[in-house]
Amino acid sequence: MALPAPGNPISANMINVEATRTGTTYAPLSVNAVPVTTSLVGLYVDSGVNQIAPHAYSEFYSKSFTIPPSPYWFVDTTNTPSIGKKYQYSGSNVIQNSSSALGTNYNTTLAAYGGSGLTINSDELLVSGGSVSSSGTSSGERHPLLTCYDETTGLPDISTAYDWQGTVYHWTSDMQFIDGFPNQVFWVDQEKSYSAWDDDGATDRRRYGVVYTDTTIAVFSGSTVTYPKLFQYTNMVRRIDNSTHQQGYFYSSPKIGTVNFANAVSPYTDTTKSYIYICNQIKNEILGDDYEYNGGIVRMTYEPPQYNGGLTSALTSPIFKVYQQNPGSAGSPWGTSDMTTFADICVLPNNEET
């Protein structure tokens, strides 16, 4: 169960065997100053072998191999009252305001209006979507929620909820790291009218935002302020407000695709911008009830602005199209054609054009 004690012969073969590998497995000592995981030193990371260079076989004397913990896991989060606090300015920082804790009636919503969405970048930074309810899960407002996780541990790093005005249910539907901008996440809100008002399966407004997964620095009232990760700058969030072509939500949840033209393949050569596409169900209030639901797609242009809360919008130039081909009500067992929709989208990288 243990390698030889000091003073005895020791070999890579013996170290391999102790680690339950075939003795003749290729076994470099460390490869790099920071040992690679398949090297002998890297393999014994949880076995007490010194991981700091220079390395030596003598460091394996008397060691027993311990299998590192599985890198695959289940992260279970809990939001106990009080769930969080409102942000406030404090000197040169934005911090949670201990005097403005959210009441115990706030919780994360997992039911019908719970959020969704998950995206990860090449640094293994994970971001997920959700929603927060202000009054349990059966009434009250819902607020979209974003959470990013520590790249190394996988545990929640920071979560932020956004309080839109008015009594409308909001939840994060989808988000994606923007192609070409690996620390910027585009997210899309889904809304549902308050049930006492117009619970007809569609809303006029839909909101889109971009947040940074890093802390950011901007000028507020003449002072330089550090803002937390996932802070939503007002010039980086926009909405479409259309009372005719509404956002439907029967059998539909908006989805995102993005593309950046880093490869500058003609005619798409502007590497400073990305196109963002959102597909979802559209309800046309002018059409008859049997025909009103169809699939829609929006493209907008994203260009990182100065995130200073200023007037320059990061999201511009919308193109909005509806694939309007609903032929009318369906027969048994469907009865309705309201399931007519776009449900998902994929956008090919720019280099696929070649």
Partner: protein, 462 residues
């Protein structure tokens, strides 16, 4: 050139008794380039068409140029969306036109075995898809889509608790199933606050991530980090557990519908049609610069990881403390320390629970395993063996012979007042209350129910 693909569902004509899948392709400037419709029917033709709702689409990269879609389908006119559908296309690199390659209909017997139309069942179709250049990863939500327009439901999904979902891996080249896992989220059957199941997946080279919604008090949003090679992920009973689904028509298995039992008809129409262009602006929102409209949320979290520990093989109460530690076993924990309640396994994929019994885990400790988890962690007691009679009442003890070997934790040759006396060398089974003798004249009395020699004993009574 088609570079953007949207997938969804249509009704092919008024009063049709089926839905069809659709893909609409676009160029980067949102000029529609083509539309595709996918119709399923059994071998008797159009009058027996089946319904299909497509839910997800992805692209596998330029090395293979495949676009694949997933969704749910019925297996008849009046059936429910209880089957899962996956279809892969070859993509022409010069035009972006898609041509069908392979498809599979699979019944995921998560909730029920396949039932006729009069019984809805709850088995779902695929909802999510993520591809790399070699494989396709797909996931269901938590249960089936409903065939009704009910604003109070969850985007037309049924909900229940506990909730079952499936996550699977297919080989892109031929559609071979690499693995399918059944997941159970939550544990108790409730009436409100249902979870959604899997709400999104995201793929990296060495991990498949799945966001899940698991019901529990003050629950937050959870996720799984899954080994894409074999579907392994650590779980926790009552929150999230997984098991490999066999190819079986039984509950918990999956059934592949033979390709000869149905027809897939794909139509392709190039060009733009049925498009309405909406003049639109992007407006500022009512999220003010007053930053108290943004809230920092502070979830707590537990991370369940599979840790290894050194152990003996399964042993008995009498021999565990002398057993040799020569095995590597595994436990699920939120820290690297094994605790009472830890689920314990004999393999690194957490597929085989340890059998009931005693396991020595250090020079001084052993665990007792019951029903796959640690029921207690115990200290090996240093004991001294001695010869003794069995136990009886005070009037009979002197007549007994000395034919048993017992063990005490005292410092002497024989037990003294206050010492604990055991019938096993591991020091796990204490002697019952009674009188015993350890030689021809001296006896000792056990009282209190914990094997302890009563004060003032032993006494020379024989």
């Amino acid at each position: 050139m088609s570079t953007v693909y949207t997938v969804g569902t249509i009704v092919p004509f008024a009063n049709a008794n089926r839905t069809e899948g659709t893909i609409v392709s676009w160029d980067y400037d949102l000029v529609m380039t083509a539309k595709y419709t996918m119709r399923l029917s059994n071998s008797t033709g159009a009058e027996s068409s089946w319904g299909m709702n497509l839910r997800g689409i992805d692209f596998g990269g330029s090395a293979i140029d495949k676009v694949c879609v997933v969704g749910a389908n019925t297996l008849g006119v009046n059936e429910y969306l209880n089957s899962s559908f996956i279809l892969c296309f070859d993509r022409d690199t010069s035009t972006g036109v898609l041509t069908t390659d392979w498809n599979k209909i699979i019944i995921l017997n998560l909730w029920n075995t396949h039932t006729p139309s009069t019984t809805p069942g709850l088995n779902p179709g695929w909802e999510h898809i993520a591809m790399d250049e070699n494989n396709i990863y797909v996931a269901t939500r938590g249960s089936r889509m409903v065939i009704s327009n009910n604003a109070s439901s969850d985007n037309q999904y049924t909900t229940a608790d506990p909730m079952y979902a499936a996550i699977a891996k297919f080989r892109i080249s031929d559609g071979a199933i690499m693995w399918i896992k059944k997941f159970t989220f939550g544990s108790s059957v409730g009436t409100t606050n249902y979870a959604k199941g899997v709400t999104k997946i995201a793929l990296r080279p060495n991990a498949l991530y799945a966001q899940i919604s698991v019901l529990s008090t003050n629950a937050g949003y959870d996720y799984l980090k899954i080994n894409p090679a074999n579907g392994f992920v650590t779980g926790s009973s009552g929150l999230s557990t997984s098991v490999t689904m066999p190819n079986s028509s039984s509950l918990g298995g999956y059934d592949i519908i033979s390709g000869s039992d149905y027809d897939l008809t794909t139509t392709y129409t190039s060009g733009s049609s049925d498009i309405v262009t909406v003049s639109e602006t992007l407006d500022a929102t009512d999220l003010y610069e007053d930053i108290d409209d943004q809230w920092g949320i502070n979830p707590s979290s537990d991370q369940y990881i599979l840790y290894s520990f050194d152990s003996s093989s399964v042993s008995t109460s009498s021999s565990v403390c002398s057993a040799t530690i020569n095995q590597k076993y595994y436990f699920v924990g939120t820290t690297s320390s094994i605790i009472v309640g830890s689920e314990v396994y004999s393999d690194s994929l957490a597929t085989s629970g340890l059998t009931n019994g005693y396991y020595r885990i250090s020079s001084t400790q052993y665990i007792i395993v019951s029903s796959g988890s640690v029921s207690s962690i115990n200290t090996c007691t240093t004991v001294t063996s001695f010869s003794s009679s069995t136990g009886t009442n005070v009037l009979s003890v002197c007549a007994l012979s000395i034919g048993s070997t017992y063990y005490h934790d005292g410092s002497g040759t024989y037990p003294a007042a206050g010492d604990t006396v055991y019938s096993d060398s591991a020091g796990t089974i204490v002697l019952a209350n009674n009188y015993y003798k350890f030689n021809s004249t001296w006896a000792y009395r056990i009282t209190g129910g914990a094997g302890i020699v009563e004060a003032s004993w032993p006494q020379e009574i024989c």
